[in-house]
Symmetry: C3
Subunit: 511 residues, 3 copies
């Protein structure tokens, strides 16, 4: 064996022996003059250190890639919820307003896309040089600085988190669409659909999800009561915000004509012929989307703790949905002696909304309790609205508002200490656990505070918005248009699905 | 350069040289007194060994994370099949029973969720301290011991496998729903929907998929004929079980009124106006879900063998679906001279069901043969039921039962030895291959045994169940309710989709 | 401590110290006689080198697995577009042709499966021993040599890329189905559906996407103008091909009876009662599928550059869809004073089609411009067809043809140099950037050439095909069948969805 580069044949032989005969590596080692000073053993050790560093670097890239892939796939599933919401709401409103609901649910995600891109995302998560304040973010408007991948410290903010957060923001925005359906104008909805993703939602998201938010359990520096409120996937940030807005909207816009007057008062208004198909599809697509919503909220899956948490979240999400559905089915059976599909669908959603806050930090059996109670909360909320003569056609407030609040409370009752430590990477102590595990109500108090401030913030903003629109005379269509239906009056289209059944004599039964 | 920790400046210089100048690493090495005994070279070598061990550990976590992510994403796709089944069945039954079908398909997955959580999963896969018996699992009821992630040896069972297996169990359970549609009571279906996921399905899953099952090709210790039966993704465990139950159910409950009597006997009963849309959507969503069902059954993708097997499985699944669809289209064209959408949809499903058993161990061209024959099996099964006057409204037995059995047989004919060794990690020998590759019918015999015991087990359990329900008078609704349709009679809802077409004079044509 | 294997107790102690006490590793090192020659330090170094090599190997397998998983998941999402196309087209044609559209969209993907498997895939990407020519691939027919996983150099071609490319090929094939709807025969569509995936599409895919294609930006050896045309995810290869075929088809088959004559000429023909539901679902499912189409086109996500590119692609795709939708909504509002759902849906698709070419190499703000212009292109194309009396029922040419061409042009205007270098791994220079970034029109020229040759190739092939079919008298159904509708005339089915509305007195209004 001849000498190679700076290795004489003895050194080369030793290098090759140490490398197990790897010729190419030996050549590269011997190509550097350092081999003389380091000796064969030292040079191979140094080469090994370098190789390991490169392997470590590649591993981190694979890890990042897996996390990006996981977050994006989850975000796409959440995006499917947009279709789920559209179908569910269309199945519940009257047939003469179905096209309008479809259109609202399609264009609000488009408006949210632009509004969240321009300012919302910056308000929610913008943190220049890794610092922000507790109330609102203020950096990276229009994604001006976004140009990176996951978790690369020191690099620019990554792209995929915008998609993830937009999909959530769209969901929060669209919740209201059904509750003002059949009588609000398109222009007022357009204004709402810009303000919600640009301002109202991002601020709440910052409070509870940014590492700088004053309520956030992820804020390790300065969080309320030293422990922060737990809203893992958004019973509060998404559903309570959307549900509260829906309540305000439906109160300010007022009930649909005939909803609480005349014969058959309080009866659900007449529904589309395709309704069962629409809300069944809507419900199952929402359920599918929730597997992106809840497990995806971990944002990481490339380590053992994360993959454990993601798996557990999928289990609790499933069991709460199952339990909510069966409970609602039985409630409606016991009341009406029929097996009601719509109640069952609403039970699924009640279970899903309410488990969204605590899904990663509760036991499976607790998820069953969570969904069980949620079914009653939703049913009770519906009856309450009925009694108060508030007309919320798609039950957005009971489903998203009340069940969202119940979810936050529930986390304060049955969150498990060990799971909280695992999910939020905190040390033991602080009595950071649900009341029933001996948590001294500290966590429960945080949850109550979270509910209160979310409701106050959303309600005050929404009241200002909708009262403003109402005073300006822009909020509600006139009685004739309402009777004709939004499809004909605003969308230039007659949704013939219910054509032969339509009551109003003002509407032609054929096109 | 001054001394650092236990390194004098000479040792430090050598350490730094070996580390390629990594200051932080050098400080950490010099902080340990061992450096004196080990010397600079030894200390760096030891540090390198430690670093490599840490890298290896992180790598295993990433590997686990990828596998968990893959299994969960596949499970969610399988969950979409629940919607696919609901839409397909709703498209095939009469319009006055669509809401009932939707409800059954929604709540059976919820019941399955609770029943499988409480006992089913433990019966199927529970194995305390890594041991079980060949007939039934018996540990981890109510997920009491589940609290881990993927593949962590010695740790608790992982969460994600529950989701995966629940999605399969739901599919097996829901297959029957259409075959007793339009005349079975809700309460009897509810009972069925608890027993199937709690008892009947889990036992078969244990036999064929647990590493301890007496029929399982994954049982390396003690499997039948030394090779075990191959049912990769469940032509047997899911489809033959569901299809056999469907046959028993439809026989015991008896045909729908008018199905085989009066004018137009044996004609398919009248269908919904939205039917083509429903079964087209159902079929394509099922096809989509099957890409979770079959390729996902590998449960791993983070190594070269797994990613090869997963990719091949996607290819064979696709080709069998395509071939089944086109064959069915041509069969129906040659018989009726029309291009029939429903036949084509059923051809897709026939191809998919039958390739499910062997999808990972056959060649692409074999998949085309598999789907080709499946189309004839399904068509023949339909004609057989017609002749035997068995009323299976959604053809669940021909599609899932017969095509499931054909799939198992087919694997015994054309499974390739090299692929079996790759998938099941077995050594050559044992004539473990399809008959046409020279397998001496040993594998084929295993497949026949599997078919026999699955049919016997399922049929005996289901006969007991449905006869019991029939004797108790709970099984079938009375003639008046059947004539009115389950939607009106049981669900309190009139599915107006078919409103203007409904025959029965007892039903009002407007609400 | 006694001696072990070839280590005396001193060597063993040293080995153990270097290994940090790893007993098993020490035993394995001492089991080899080399330890005597290498010494304790040398033996541990050699063991470390071996361990690192194994770790590196496992890491590459995980990396491959992640990429395979990413590509397959993306392909499944693209497959969902098949359902999206079917629903969208069914929502736009008249109700008496809905079943026919469903059937065409179902069986063309099946024919594409077999045709692409037999020859198409080989024409597109087959490259024996890593070499091919610029015009057409010629190897691996019927996947005869496919049997590997991702990125294993020297191994057989991987399975998953077939699934990926089939899903694209299906999309390209199905685009035409709506444009000849309501009047072309099934047999002619069948012939088309075999020739497109077997021959026309694969050749274009080879030109632009194979590393050997003469137009391909991925061809580092010999590409046009030294830089190649950029069609990242297929504005050209998929949409312009499909859209051009659709134009030729709709011209040769001629307009539907009554489309441009009689009273109410040029009005959109009457639509299904379920139409809004169908095209809304179709649009949102297509949007969902596009997140597989565009981001998935990277084919890799397991490194930092890839995950950055994938994330950015998802962002630009989203913003162009949002912008296209809102622009179309406003265009139609300004023209008709109604809020039109179908226009908004088409705006979504126009934005998606046009951003598909440049999605990975443009800035988010540029995506907004891309979608904005696309809405006008689509609207203008529709009006042009109207004026030219070309009847394209689903606007396939404006949407896929014109917006596809606009997408290619747009990339020539606003592709960013840094992003091109990142995505196509090229060195700076060559003025490889959009015109508005100072690209001297070199890239723009490549894009124009790409548009020209795609249109010429597709149009000439399609003209030959459709003229041939027309001359043979196979292309169009007779007037009576057309009036009855394809559902009744060819599919033996009366799509009752529109039953009560059907105009033709020849068709019974009840079954």
């Amino acid at each position: 064996m001849a000498a190679v580069g700076f290795c004489d044949h003895l050194v080369l032989a030793r290098v090759l022996a140490l490398l197990g005969g790897d010729d190419a590596a030996a050549r590269s080692i011997c190509a550097s003059p350092d081999v003389s000073a380091l000796g064969a053993d030292g040079a191979v050790t140094r080469w090994t250190v370098g190789q390991m560093r490169a392997t470590r670097g590649s591993l981190e890239q694979v890890q990042n890639g897996l996390n990006v892939s996981f977050v994006l796939a989850s975000a796409y599933q959440v995006f499917v919820m947009q279709l789920g919401f559209a179908l569910f709401a269309a199945g519940v409103v009257r047939p003469k307003n179905i096209v309008a609901i479809f259109l609202k649910n399609l264009f609000d995600t488009c408006i949210a896309g632009l509004a969240f891109y321009l300012v919302g995302y910056a308000f929610a998560f913008g943190a220049k040089d890794g610092s922000s304040n507790g109330f609102i973010g203020n950096w990276d408007f229009a994604l001006s600085f976004t140009d990176g991948s996951a978790g690369q410290t020191g690099l620019l903010p990554p792209w995929h988190l915008f998609i993830w957060n937009w999909s959530f923001c769209s969901a929060a925005t669209t919740i209201l669409s059904g509750s003002i359906a059949e009588r609000a104008t398109f222009s007022s909805y357009t204004i709402y659909a810009a303000i919600m993703p640009a301002w109202v939602y991002p601020v709440v998201a910052h409070w509870l999800w940014s590492p700088y938010g004053w309520l956030s359990a992820r804020n390790t520096a300065d969080r309320i009561l030293g422990i922060g409120a737990i809203d893992y996937a958004g019973s509060g940030v998404v559903h309570l915000v959307g549900g509260t807005a829906a309540l305000v909207g439906s109160i300010v816009v007022g009930p649909r004509a005939g909803r609480f007057s005349g014969e058959g008062v309080s009866a659900r208004l007449y529904r589309s012929t395709a309704a069962p198909q629409l809300y069944l599809m809507g419900t199952l697509l929402l359920w599918f989307g929730w597997y992106g919503f809840n497990p995806g909220s971990r944002l990481e899956i490339a380590d053992d703790i994360s993959s454990t948490v993601v798996g557990r979240t999928a289990v609790t999400t499933t069991l709460s949905a199952c339990s909510g559905a069966l409970t609602s089915l039985l409630i409606s059976y016991s009341r009406h002696k029929v097996w009601d599909l719509l109640s069952t669908c609403m039970g699924v959603l009640a279970g899903l909304v309410s488990v969204t806050s605590g899904c990663s930090v509760i036991e499976p059996w607790a998820a069953i309790i969570c969904g069980f109670v949620a079914a009653f909360v939703c049913e009770g909320g519906d009856q309450l609205l009925e009694r108060l003569k508030i007309d919320d056609p798609v039950s957005a407030f009971p489903l998203h508002g009340l069940c969202g609040a119940w979810g936050l409370l529930f986390t304060g009752l049955l969150a498990k200490e060990g799971y909280i430590q695992q999910v939020y990477r905190v040390d033991p102590g602080h009595h950071r656990m649900g009341l029933f595990y001996g948590g001294h109500a500290k966590l429960l108090l945080c949850q109550v505070i979270a509910i209160s401030v979310i409701v106050c913030w959303t309600a005050s903003n929404m009241t200002a918005l909708f009262w403003g629109l109402r005073l300006a005379g822009w909020l509600r269509v006139d009685a004739e248009k309402e009777a004709a239906g939004m499809d004909l009056a605003a969308c230039g289209q007659f949704n013939a699905q219910g054509a032969v059944h339509v009551h109003s004599s003002k509407v032609p039964t054929t096109k």
